[in-house]
Structures are given as structure tokens and as C-alpha cells.
């Protein structure tokens, strides 16, 4: 069920390209900054429905967009060479995906054409004859089932491990609210000395709070810091 649901979502590169093309924009750094908000909005809509593992990949793309956005907003911001190459990498991937997109349509048409070949079953018409394999004994069956269980268990463990980033978003929401309550109202202050992933999660938390109108944010002019404050509707018992 849940895996099926997952498949309804396109990958982040596809989604980002979609957003750019909706606005009939070229793939440039400036235009990427332009669609950042849309991408984040989409990302937020995913947080309820999607596997944390997939979400993490969207966050990676979102983080690069935020980097681009920050660069556009804050011209004095110095990016490391790694960050610069991350931006370049995202642009290149989008371009490559864009070039490939027509092939997906071609493939889809062929796939749905109902123009297929039929083959025959394995040794059709030959009677089944008992041919036990030399290696089909109790021991090897036992080993095979044990190995399969080990694998299936490792899969479910892996899924559990990845649940943690989701909880963090909730924590960060609380953190922002607390910071505002003690009087820190500038986003730059809130994210001071945080790791890059934390900044991203904090930013997501900020967007979350904005959407729920728990806080108000304001950017007085381009490139200036974002000022956040509690909005009237926030109630401690809501969260």
C-alpha cells in the first residue's frame, strides 16, 4: 500500500524541472532562486505523506535551492567551493533531465501502445518429471530461508533507522517557537552556528509555522534578514 503510494511521487529533479517549466523559465541560477519557494511548498506537502528516506532526498535538493536563494538575497555571502559546485551540479542535472524528458514520453507511448509479442512457456507440452536437484536438501533449504529472513529483517531495520529525521522537524518547530518567545526574532540569529542540515530543517520548520500561521515572517527589503515574530493565533496547546 504504502509502497504503491510512494510511486505516485516524481523524483525531486523531475519536480523541480516541472516547476521551472510551469513558469516557462530557462534553467539558470537566478530562475532556480525564483522557484525555490514553490519547491519548498511542494516539499511541505510531502512531509505528511512520504517516506522519510525519500523526503531526505527532496531536502538535499531543497538545501541547494536555499543556497542559491541565499546567494541571490545576500550578495556578500561567501560560498565555499564545495557549495558552488553543488549549485553547478544541480543545474547540470536539471539540464540533463530536461534533455531526457522527451524520451520518457516516447517510452510511455510505446509502453501503452498494446503492441506486444507473445512467447511460449518453458518446455511447453513436456510432461513434468521428478528431477530432484543434488543441492536440494534440508540443509540448503534451511540456509536459504535463514538468509532470506536475515535480509528481510535488515530491510525493516533500515526503514526504522531512517524515521529519525522526521521527528527532528517537530523538534525544530518547537525550537523556533521557543527562540521567538525568548526574544530572538531574526532568522540569522536562530541559525547561528548550526550545521547545514540543521539550517535546512530549521528553515522547513519556519515554513511550516508560516503555513500554519503560527508565526509571521517579514523581510523588509531584498537581501535583508528575515524577521520572525509570533502571530496572534498561536496557542501553546495547539502543538
Amino acid at each position: 500500500m504504502y509502497q504503491l503510494q510512494l510511486q505516485q511521487f516524481s523524483g525531486p529533479i523531475e519536480k523541480l524541472l516541472e516547476l521551472i517549466e510551469e513558469k516557462k523559465l530557462e534553467i539558470t541560477e537566478l530562475n532556480l532562486a525564483e522557484v525555490t519557494a514553490d519547491f519548498l511548498k511542494y516539499l511541505q506537502s510531502l512531509t505528511v505523506a512520504i517516506d522519510p528516506r525519500i523526503l531526505a532526498d527532496f531536502v538535499v535538493v531543497a538545501s541547494r535551492l536555499l543556497l542559491i536563494k541565499s546567494k541571490a538575497l545576500l550578495p556578500n555571502l561567501e560560498l565555499t567551493s564545495e557549495e558552488e559546485s553543488d549549485i553547478k551540479d544541480l543545474e547540470e542535472r536539471l539540464l540533463r533531465y530536461k534533455k531526457f524528458k522527451p524520451a520518457i514520453i516516447l517510452f510511455k507511448n510505446l509502453y501503452e501502445k498494446n503492441y506486444f509479442s507473445v512467447s511460449r512457456p518453458f518446455f511447453h507440452g513436456y510432461p513434468p518429471v521428478f528431477h530432484p536437484a543434488k543441492n536440494a536438501d534440508l540443509d540448503s533449504l534451511h540456509q536459504a530461508i535463514a538468509k532470506l529472513f536475515e535480509y528481510l529483517n535488515s530491510l525493516s531495520l533500515e526503514t526504522q533507522k531512517i524515521e529519525s529525521p522526521l521527528i527532528k522537524l517537530e523538534e525544530k518547530i518547537e525550537e523556533i517557537i521557543k527562540q521567538i518567545e525568548i526574544g530572538i526574532g531574526q532568522f540569522n540569529e536562530i541559525i547561528k552556528q548550526k550545521s547545514k542540515t540543521e539550517i535546512i530543517v530549521l528553515f522547513l520548520a519556519l515554513l511550516h509555522l508560516l503555513r500554519d500561521q503560527i508565526i509571521k515572517a517579514e523581510q523588509r527589503e531584498r537581501f535583508s534578514d528575515i524577521i520572525v515574530e509570533k502571530s496572534g493565533s498561536y496557542n501553546q496547546n495547539d502543538k
Binding site: 507473445v118 511460449r120 521428478f130 536437484a133 534440508l138 533449504l141 534451511h142 528481510l152
Partner: protein
């Protein structure tokens, strides 16, 4: 549909190939939406073409039915081939599938695919041909696969519960689902 069919001989060959079983001329005529006479002449044409020495197939007529089969001169070659094929050891994928059926049978193909994470159609067919598993149509929609009686004997056990750690795996099935 029919007007798209350019060549009746080719269409008849394709139909006989896919169905595998003997078909009545009437049935072929129905599939093609053509008169039986047309089918008969296409079958004659096909039969003539199959006589060429570079063809490996032939038509067999019996009881008003026709079937496409291999030429008799290849019978012993193909029987040996089948024998060799089934003498081979089971692949890891074959063993894995057999173990799932042993421990969890009767079990549907969908469930086997789910556990293995890959499609098992071919492996199931091969295990059936080797007589290691049986297929029963438990529900109308789905076959259920279980270990064959011969396979149990070959393993040297009298019932499935004698498989090593049978209870442990059988009961833990839900944990991994």
C-alpha cells in the same frame, strides 16, 4: 481487426505458436474472423513452407485439430536437452523460492514475489517441471504452491513440520511482512 491482418499464413503461425495446444480450424477462423476455407488454405500454405529443410517445426493434424510442434528429427535432441536442463543443480534463486514454498506453502505467487522482491514466474515453472512443487487452485484467482510429495520424500522427511526450525520461521512470518 481483420483488415489489419496482411497475411493469413503469418497470423495462423503466430496463433498456433502462442496457443501451443491443438486448435480446431473453427476456432482459428473465429480468432481471425475469417471463413474456415481461408484458414484451411493458409494451413496448407504453412504446411508446405514448413517442409523446407531449414524449418524446425511442423503441423500435426488430429481430430480436426491442428498443432504446431517441432519436427520429429529433433525429438531425441530436445529430450536430451530437457533432461540435461533438469539435471542441473538449483540456482540460488531456485533454492530461495523452493525454501519459501517449503516453509510457507501453500503460498501464492504474489506472496513469493513479495518476499523475494523479484518476479518468480520462470522459477516456479521450472520447479513445477522438475516435480519439486505442486500447484493447486486454492482460490479462483490465484494458484497456491506447495512442496510436492516427491520432494518431501527426496528431503527424507515425512511431513513439512520436520523441516529444520520450521516453527520458528513459520511463526515469524508476520514479523517481516
Amino acid at each position: 481487426m481483420t483488415n489489419k491482418i496482411q497475411n493469413i499464413t503469418a497470423a495462423v503461425e503466430a496463433i498456433l505458436f502462442a496457443y501451443g495446444e491443438p486448435l480446431t480450424i473453427k476456432k482459428i477462423a473465429k480468432i481471425l474472423d475469417l471463413e474456415e476455407e481461408k484458414i484451411k488454405s493458409a494451413l496448407n500454405d504453412l504446411e508446405e513452407k514448413l517442409k523446407y529443410e531449414n524449418r524446425g517445426l511442423k503441423l500435426v493434424f488430429a481430430d480436426e485439430k491442428v498443432q504446431l510442434t517441432t519436427k520429429p528429427e529433433f525429438s531425441s535432441l530436445l529430450e536430451n536437452f530437457a533432461k540435461e536442463e533438469f539435471k542441473e543443480e538449483l540456482t540460488p534463486a531456485g533454492l530461495e523460492t523452493l525454501s519459501i514454498i517449503a516453509y510457507f506453502g501453500p503460498i501464492s505467487k504474489a506472496k513469493i514475489d513479495y518476499f523475494r522482491g523479484v518476479n518468480s514466474a520462470f522459477i516456479l515453472r521450472a520447479l513445477l517441471m522438475r516435480g519439486l512443487i505442486d500447484r493447486s487452485d486454492k482460490s479462483k484467482e490465484e494458484y497456491a504452491y506447495s512442496l510436492s510429495f516427491d520432494a518431501l520424500k527426496h528431503l527424507g522427511i515425512s511431513k513439512i513440520e520436520e523441516l529444520p526450525e520450521y516453527e520458528k520461521y513459520k511463526n515469524n512470518l508476520n514479523l517481516v511482512q
